[in-house]
Structure formats: structure tokens, C-alpha cells
């Protein structure tokens, strides 16, 4: 904004003078110190702002409820560093929960499913062999030598070969 012929402060510079004279150029500050017109303009704006403050104060209703000082209990329970305590507690709990979950849900080491299946098959084969031996303990080639393939026992033949003794009949 241009200055007039006498070099008075323009509107912007007047505002600057009210907000803080330090913001004005050295030349303008010197002018303001000497010029009655500029001082009057500055004071007019400053007065408007002061009256605004006074009117606001005057048009504010009076305070009816005065502030109450809380009882001793409030001061005993109040914790100026409460937020730090709460933050620390939360952090510690979170760390404990994370550590526990890592410990409880970690994968069991050394489980090899292929080896397990192989072992189960081997066990099954062994069990089959055992049950075959229970039915017929002789190996197949021995059956050929013995000349009997039927392992069922003929009771009449046994009675003929080994007759029952007297004692046996009594019992």
C-alpha cells in the first residue's frame, strides 16, 4: 500500500505498529516517533481494540459458581504421572502376553511325518507276522518236510498214539 506525500504510515504499517513496532522498518519507526498524525492514527486503532476488550468484559455475565477446591481425597488419589504408570503397565502386559504366546504356540521341533508313516507301516507288518505265527508257528518250508499242510489236530489219532492212562480217566 502506498504512503501519502508526507510519508505517513499506511494502513498496513499502522496495523504493524499496533501488533509490534519491532516489525516496522527503522525509517517508519523514526517517523512514528515524530509524527503526531501517525501517532493519533495508531492510538485510535489501539483504542478500538482496547474498547473491544473492555466491552467484552463488561458484557460477560458474572460468575455465580466459584471454583471449589477438592477435598484431601482428590489430592491423595490424583497421580500427576498416572499416564506414565498406565502406559508402563500396558507395555509390560503386552510384552508378557507376546512372550507367553511365543512360548505356548511355537511349533514342536523334529516332527517328521514321513518317518512316522514308515514306522507305522513297519509296526503293521510285524503285527501281521506275529498273528500268522500264532496260527502256524512252523515256516512254510518246514511244513513241506513234515508232510502236513493241515495243522488242525485230529483228536482220534492223538488218542490212538497216546492212549489215556488210568489216572487221566479218574481225573
Amino acid at each position: 500500500m502506498r504512503r501519502d506525500e508526507q510519508g505517513h504510515l499506511n494502513k498496513d504499517e499502522l496495523v504493524m505498529a499496533v501488533v509490534g513496532e519491532a516489525g516496522l522498518a527503522e525509517e517508519m519507526r523514526k517517523h512514528l516517533a515524530l509524527c503526531r498524525h501517525c501517532v493519533a492514527e495508531k492510538e485510535r486503532l489501539a483504542r478500538d481494540l482496547a474498547v473491544l476488550g473492555e466491552m467484552a468484559k463488561g458484557f460477560t455475565p458474572p460468575l455465580r459458581k466459584t471454583v471449589i477446591i477438592p477435598d484431601e481425597q482428590f489430592f491423595r488419589h490424583s497421580r500427576p504421572w498416572g499416564w506414565r504408570l498406565a502406559f508402563g503397565t500396558t507395555l509390560a502386559t503386552a510384552v508378557v502376553v507376546i512372550m507367553l504366546s511365543l512360548f505356548l504356540f511355537r511349533p514342536t521341533p523334529g516332527v517328521n511325518l514321513a518317518a512316522l508313516n514308515k514306522e507305522m507301516l513297519s509296526d503293521e507288518r510285524l503285527m501281521t507276522e506275529i498273528s500268522m505265527l500264532e496260527n502256524n508257528p512252523m515256516p512254510p518250508k518246514w511244513e513241506a518236510i513234515a508232510g502236513e499242510t493241515d495243522s488242525t489236530v485230529d483228536e482220534a489219532f492223538i488218542d490212538f498214539v497216546v492212549p489215556l492212562g488210568a489216572d487221566d480217566e479218574v481225573s
Binding site: 494502513k11 498496513d12 496495523v15 504493524m16 499496533v18 501488533v19 509490534g20 516489525g23 486503532l45 478500538d48 481494540l49 482496547a50 474498547v51 473491544l52 476488550g53 466491552m55 467484552a56 468484559k57 458484557f59 460477560t60 455475565p61 460468575l63 455465580r64 459458581k65 466459584t66 471454583v67 471449589i68 477446591i69 477438592p70 482428590f74 489430592f75 490424583s78 500427576p80 504421572w81
Partner: protein
Amino acid sequence: MDGHDHAKDKGDLASRVERARGGDRSALGELIAEFQEDIFRMVYYRTRSRMDAEDLTQEIFLKVFDNLPALKDPRMFRSWLFRIAVNKVYDYHRKKRFRALFVQPMEKEAASSMEDIRSDNRNALEQVVKKEFWHEIGVFTQKLSNLEREVFQLRFMDHLGIAEISQVLNKSESTVKTHLYRAVKKFQGAGYLLRLIRGEAI
């Protein structure tokens, strides 16, 4: 008040704050007596509701009592107090906007402002000027940005210095001055408000 008186006052205030920090209830009472009106007015300018301003003033001081041991420099008490107050007012407006999403403006507010007017024992002309004044202040402050408005109110309505405002708002002094400059420029353009202030409007 000259510089010596100002420094003495600051020293007195710091000693009262120190005593209050030590649990001296009479010092707390002195701090309340010294600042409750200022804080009530500061809140009223921003809420325009006497009831809300009274409740918020109590809440602000409760927060102050609760956090007093955390105040590092007792000489900063005034700017620290206003900072708490500014934050409380922001919270109030945030909650109010949130509530406005769900409910119609409360009858309580209308009743409160009517009650404010009735309880004010002024003559009819003064009542009219008062109503006009707050209306024009509302119109003017709506033209300002949030920071311009806050800086302007703190400087010319709450009477804080530039350094205090920079502490309250956590902005540099040059930022405060820039926003204040813009706000005062807009104030110069507030024709009806200026006429009202100069007594030329009615």
C-alpha cells in the same frame, strides 16, 4: 504497571504456585481467587454460555490441581493455565459438534442464553447493545481462521502478551504476530463492529 512491579508480581505468583504444589490449600485458594474470573470470561467468550463456562472453569481448575506438580517452571503458571483452558474449550467444541450429529441443538442452550439476559440487571438499551455486540463479534470471528481467532482473542480480549500467547499455543512469536497482524487487518474492515465500539452505531 512498570517492569519492576511486573517482575515482583511474577515472583509472588511463582511463590504461591510453589506453596500450592506443596499442598498448601490457602495458596490454592489464592490462585483460584486471582484467576477464576479471567478463566470464566475466557471460556465464556468462546462458548457464549454461562452454564457451560462455569462448568468448564471448574473442570479447568481441577485439571490444574491434578497436574500442578508436573509444572516445570512456576513462573509460567499463567500461560500454562490458559493453555489448559484453550485445550478444554477445543474439547468442548469437538464434543458439541459430535453431539450435534445425533441430536438437535439442546433447549438447555437456548434457556441458558435467555437466563443470561434475564439475570443481567441492565436497562433495555444496554441489553440491545450487548446482544448486538456479541452478534457482531460472532460475525467478525467467523471471518478469521482458527489460529487468527485464537491469537486475536488471547491478545485483545484475554489481555495476554505476545510471549505468553506463543507459550499458550506452542507457536513462535513471529507466527503469533503474523496471525495477529492478519486478524487486526480484518478487524479494520469490520465496519459495524467498529461503529458499535466507537458508539456510532445506535
